[in-house]
Amino acid sequence: MLNMREKVNILEHELVPKHEIIPPEEALKILKELRIEPWQLPWISIDDPVVKAIGAKPGDIVRIIRKSPTAGISIAYRYVVVEVTKRT
């Protein structure tokens, strides 16, 4: 009985907003619109459990659709990066 393990999909957890990988063409369009380089976006680490779950690769841009109490729905982007220095 103790070995019984529930199947868990972290993407469905209450705290995890929707993440989706943006195709490169669209990513370029967004970067142009925001007038920034990809590294200027917030980052998301390649060893982040959500990144692993959706199968994003370093260099991808991930769109995050958050439920925001002030704006209803807010869209954010994160740039998938590889750990170089381990801080925190």
């Binding site: 393990r5 529930e6 980052w43």
Partner: protein, 405 residues
């Protein structure tokens, strides 16, 4: 009459089409729904509808932050000032609840300092719909989660040094409370391989352990005692205590201690709603975005507890900064403040001399682009109207010169 209404609705459609580029999709959807209702209910004229629609656009745009607004500074002040009013060093609800929670300023400091482990980790474990109203089944899940060591069910442990017999007296009340049988304890103890084990014939709750010779060293007795008491029987490691609370129409398990990953896998637990106050653990198991949400939730709860009202946007900005690199950074000299590109800005925070020496040794430059640096040297900081610079489009200049010729 009906035809007239249809016409009105069509003109609403036209107006909405006009304002569409100025607002977000969500506002557009909500506005069109509400306007249509209002037209039907209040017999609005087309001009009024148009006025309302443009007023919405105006209000929406006036809610934007102005370019050059020093949002970071305002956030720091908006969070800093209320925190001076918090009750200092209050650690728990005295007598109100059965468990301790870090509250107020200590908890706020814990969050912004990104402490590896919270002082009082607490989990909120919600249960699946089928059992969440059934107290007996909830208790069963709670028992499965709570970590039990031999220590927790022991009343007394005595060692007879001359004969090398350890007498372990179990507490029958605790045994039934934790749903552990004497056989379970015997099983666990036999796995330690410290000697032969038998249940006393006089008392069914007494276990006798004949220690084998290799452990009979008097100097190792203390170690042996700990080994017996710390032997793990069942449950999830890290969960020290569980309490069942009633919230609305369901029972919730509140657990002292935290182990998100394992608890999520327990059958009967609604893993979609499991929550812990350990933000690093959330980052590890659910990712950086969940950690961001948790930081916001935790800070908001801490402030609300003290009756302080801080605009959520400030907290969101703080959480955004803390999670910017994909890891949780503390707000301090090892984190956000310490990673600023400017030497002077870093020196303003803590350890001034050290930072200045470090920068001098590595030959750092300061481009004076930020707010702090410019205030130190008494220059106009790039904030508000100070951020504006005059640019000239060169092709325009050329063409005007040509025109003169």
């Amino acid at each position: 009459m009906i035809a007239l209404e249809e016409q009105e609705l069509k003109s609403v459609e036209d107006i909405l089409e006009k304002i569409k580029p100025y607002v977000t999709a969500q506002i557009y959807i909500e506005l069109s729904k509400k306007l249509r209702e209002a037209v039907k209910k209040c017999n609005l004229k087309t001009e009024d509808v148009e006025k309302i629609a443009w007023e919405v656009v105006k209000r929406y745009h006036s809610a934007f932050i102005e370019p050059g607004e020093a949002v970071g500074t305002v956030t720091a002040q908006s969070l800093g000032e209320p925190s001076t009013q918090m009750t200092l060093r209050v650690f728990h609800y005295a007598g109100v609840r059965e468990y301790n929670v870090t509250l107020g300023l200590p908890r706020l400091i814990e969050i912004v300092d990104a402490k590896k482990k919270p002082e009082t980790p607490i989990m909120e474990i919600y249960l699946v719909d089928e059992i969440k109203q059934d107290l007996e089944k909830v208790k069963e899940v709670a028992r499965r989660i709570e970590c039990v060591y031999v220590e927790n069910v022991t009343q007394e442990l005595s060692i007879d040094y001359s004969s090398g017999v350890v007498v372990l007296k179990l507490d029958p009340e605790m045994l039934s409370d934790k749903d552990v049988t004497v056989e379970d304890v015997v099983d666990v103890l036999s796995k330690l391989e410290i000697g032969s084990i038998e249940v006393s014939s006089e008392n069914p709750h007494e276990i006798l352990i004949n220690i084998s010779e290799e452990y009979l060293d008097p100097f190792k007795m203390e170690k042996l005692k700990n080994m017996i008491l710390q032997a793990y029987i069942k449950g999830i490691k890290g969960i020290k205590k569980t309490i069942i609370q009633r919230r609305g129409d369901e029972y919730v398990i509140v657990a002292e201690g935290s182990n998100l990953e394992e608890v999520m896998h327990v059958p009967g637990v609604d893993w979609r709603r499991v929550y812990t106050n350990d933000i690093h653990e959330i980052r590890r198991v659910l990712g950086i975005e969940a950690a961001r949400a948790a930081i916001i939730k935790e800070i908001k709860n801490t402030l609300d507890d003290q009756g302080l009202d801080v605009d959520l946007r400030h907290i969101m900005l703080l959480a955004d900064m803390m999670t910017w690199t994909g890891h949780i950074r503390q707000v301090g000299r090892m984190g956000i403040a310490g990673e600023k590109p400017s030497v002077l800005a870093k020196a303003t925070f803590e350890t001034t001399v050290q930072k200045l020496v470090e920068s001098a040794v590595t030959g750092e430059e300061d481009s004076l682009a930020g707010v702090t640096e410019n205030i130190i040297i008494g220059q106009l900081p790039p904030v508000g109207t100070g951020i504006v610079k005059v640019y000239m489009k060169l092709p325009l200049l050329e063409s005007s010169e040509k025109g003169e010729e």
